[in-house]
């Protein structure tokens, strides 16, 4: 005799408050002002963007804020063919790692303004900000990155940051 398995629902729900911490909070606040800040490690001098509590290589607290440019170099990317993060985007679209000028850690964001077959490593890009009144303390304050039209950066300039 075949018995049907018995099933009972056991819903679980936990609610949490979140706090971003000191370093990340300053980064998020800078986005509200249309700026990007990172923090410099006092030992290895690397500039982390977004800011974080400690240098993961050195295990020490990061130093004061360092303003970094909203312009940088696309160091790697992927062409997205399935709607995942944002269903409002027409497919395919490009998500990439941007090494901002003055930073040592690439920064993931959406790339627009170029046919996907022309996207390449070394492409120079700039942040497109949402208008001041609409910004939130989140990466959504940057709508996307777009090509600046400058010549591509040479590979040697970013090879350590792939």
């Amino acid at each position: 005799m075949k018995e049907k398995p018995r099933v009972f629902p056991a819903p679980v729900r936990l609610e949490y408050r979140a706090s971003a911490g000191r370093g990340l909070s300053r980064f998020l606040a800078s986005l509200m002002e249309g700026r990007i800040v990172g923090q410099r490690c006092p030992l290895c001098a690397k500039v982390y963007v977004p800011s974080r509590g400690a240098c993961p290589s050195c295990g020490v607290a990061l130093g004061g804020d360092v303003a970094v440019s909203d312009t940088g170099t696309l160091v790697s990317f992927c062409i997205v063919n399935i709607p995942l993060a944002d269903r409002s985007l027409p497919l395919p679209y490009v998500y990439g790692s941007v090494l901002l000028d003055g930073a040592d850690i690439p920064f993931p964001h959406l790339l627009q303004g170029l046919p996907v077959e022309e996207v390449r490593m070394g492409l120079r890009v700039r942040a497109e900000w949402v208008p001041g009144g609409e910004r939130t303390p989140s990466l959504e304050s940057i709508r996307c990155f777009r090509p600046t039209g400058e010549p591509d950066a040479p590979f040697e300039d970013y090879q350590e940051h792939l």
Partner: protein, 355 residues
């Protein structure tokens, strides 16, 4: 097999327990504590042979929070590292095993818990058996109240004896700058308070605390080089009881008694004991299981009733006991840590001034 080397605790640092650590994230909370412990031991991070941590993603509500927390250690270039999803006392046990093997001489053990980010009563319910108990959604305080009721019904404790535990813990905590709750309270006055979950009153339960702790272990000559008076681990053991609450006598802690026997608690007089009892009645159960008499200085720090950062409070007990051996207050100390509902899992550690 050659005889295991003597291993000692040589440094201990903790953050003051607070009701809510809101400004700093886990890494920012841990960093000064880890640096203080390494500083005490005179160790640079490159000299740490093994790193072990205890925490729970359920406490912070963040997946892989223990991986993110490694930023506070400086884990690049890669280090030898492990994590337990429970109190840091069990991470210390793992580090002790690793040092006993003989190829590594020093270990950093840390733990952290920002309990305030979630609702600890509900979060701790997530460790219950998922078929028979968890769907009933009992919270941690209700389960402790069941245990307390069973103990009162056994005739081995009274509501007044519970209040006396809290009064002494809070009084002891006055001398502990890292404690969250302290002060002078009369047991009679405490008994006037309403029940939170009968028979427990709010003061029978631990405060919700955020905090972090770090301990440094060293073996043999490395321990002697780190500090003049290491707290040598003479015995350490941990045992577990049935997950099924109905299959246990909640008024006794046989796992603590067994761990205590294996760790050698009764093989000498005990000057100080730091017992991890988040609820007042649990101290009475543990005292009996550990065989501690009235001469023992019990929880001079104030214990978990004075500060209870989840996943850290057990390792803090070991650190507090070790500190008293290191500063010469105690010659022989016992530390205990618990994990799981109603004292399910228990660890006992005996620390001595001589190896």
């Amino acid at each position: 097999m050659k005889k295991a080397r003597a291993v000692a605790i040589v440094a201990f640092a903790q953050s003051p327990a607070v009701r809510r650590e809101w400004a700093r994230d886990d890494v920012e909370l841990l960093l000064p504590v880890i640096q203080a412990a390494l500083g005490q031991a005179g160790l640079r991070k490159e000299e740490v042979g093994f790193t072990a941590s205890g925490s729970s993603d359920f406490v912070t509500g963040l997946p892989f929070s223990f991986v993110l927390a490694l930023d506070a250690v400086g884990a690049s270039p890669p280090i030898e590292e492990t994590h337990v999803e429970m109190d840091g006392a069990w991470a210390l046990y793992e580090a002790w095993v690793r040092l006993s093997l003989g190829d590594v001489d020093t270990a950093l053990v840390y733990a952290f818990g920002r309990s305030s980010l979630g609702e600890p009563r509900d979060v701790l319910g997530m460790q219950l058996d998922p078929y028979y108990v968890a769907p009933l959604a009992p919270d941690a305080i209700s389960l402790a109240a069941l245990q307390a009721r069973a103990l009162l019904d056994s005739g081995r404790a009274t509501e007044r004896s519970l209040a006396e535990v809290t009064a002494r813990s809070r009084r002891n905590a006055k001398a502990n700058p890292n404690a969250q709750l302290s002060g002078d309270f009369l047991p009679e006055a405490l008994l006037d308070a309403p029940y939170l979950v009968a028979p427990l009153r709010r003061h029978d339960c631990p405060p919700i605390s955020d905090g972090a702790v770090a301990v440094v272990l060293a073996a043999g000559e490395k321990a002697r080089a780190a500090t003049a008076r290491p707290a040598w681990i003479r015995g350490i053991d941990h045992r577990i009881e049935s997950h099924g609450l109905g299959m246990r006598d909640l008024t006794r802690s046989p796992s603590t008694a067994l761990a205590a026997a294996n760790a050698g608690v009764s093989q000498g007089s005990v000057d100080v004991a730091e017992v991890h009892a988040p609820f007042s009645h649990q101290e009475l159960i543990l005292r009996e299981a550990l065989g501690l008499d009235g001469a023992v200085d019990l929880n001079p720090s104030g214990g978990a009733l004075a500060a209870n950062p989840l996943m850290s409070a057990g390792l803090i007990r070991i650190g507090e006991a070790a500190r008293r051996v290191m500063d010469g207050t105690a010659r022989r100390a016992v530390a205990h840590a618990t994990s799981g509902p109603c004292l399910q899992q228990n660890l006992v550690c005996v620390l001595e001034a001589t190896p």
